[in-house]
Symmetry: C2
Subunit: 164 residues, 2 copies
């Protein structure tokens, strides 16, 4: 297996094509990961959710990380890691345009609303679901590609330990 | 789509069956996510890596989160989130048994050594790769299952917004 870095353009293409990944946020030095859907546009990942733990954590600490990957086989995959920060589009008049833009992008994805709303079903409390539109503004992004390599694959674990 | 909680037994079965997920660690309130392979045994995820950013971060702050999912369709998936802490098996005599046990579990997975060692290829420096065996001790685990639900799927996004 050969692992190589991919260019920024390829990272962006993967984000735009997949629209699905894992988001990590932090509270009191404790990370939390959730799967998310998003729409990528101009260095931002636009998302929809209902109010819950991840939104509360990101309001407190906007530093987040998103990982996106496409795995064809153990030695044939693409992975992008994006560091960024959380920006919420509130219901205030100042955020109206941002919220409308986020909504217009997200609505292009079929069934975009399902995960957010149905997640509420599993909670015990009966509070009404509060919709939240937000984006992750990407500050730094890196990507890797793994490709099969016959010579490398032929080595045994013991060989690998010896050569290191 | 209907989302329901799954039992601890089902969470454990998913971890044992997949052996692959995403790990989040934290430094200075900034999260970082990486895909990981692991072997699950008795509330622990046993892993192998070479020394790099995630190991350095977990040595500083052992609080981590692992997310594992199996996605058949947008409305048919299983997801488990495990909160835990990092425990490294050093090369000291005290850790010899732990390291050997970790190694014996991890070696059962074919090509387990590839990701760790080949990741070193993309780094610029030529320092020798330092193997690290560690486990994530799970403290809390929750799991969700999404199942298709015809009546729910028939609703439109606008209906969804109105009913909430």
């Amino acid at each position: 297996m050969l692992i190589t870095k991919i260019r920024s353009r390829e990272c962006r293409e993967l984000l735009a094509r997949l629209g699905f990944g894992r988001l990590a946020c932090v509270s009191n030095n404790r990370p939390y990961i959730v799967p998310i859907y998003f729409s990528y546009d101009a260095e931002c990942l636009y998302c929809f959710s209902t109010l819950g733990r991840k939104i509360e954590w990101m309001r407190e600490n906007p530093l987040v990380c998103v990982e996106v990957d496409e795995i064809s086989a153990h030695d044939d995959w693409l992975s992008v890691i994006a560091l960024g920060h959380y920006l919420e589009f509130s219901n205030s008049p100042n955020d109206a345009k941002g919220q409308e833009y986020a909504r217009s992008l997200i609505e292009k994805r079929a069934l975009w609303w399902q995960s957010g709303y149905t997640a509420v079903q599993v909670r015990r409390n009966r509070k009404p679901a509060v919709p939240v539109f937000y984006c992750i503004q990407i500050e730094k992004m890196t990507g890797l590609r793994a490709s099969p390599n016959t010579r490398e694959n032929a080595r045994t674990p013991r060989d690998a330990l010896i050569r290191n």
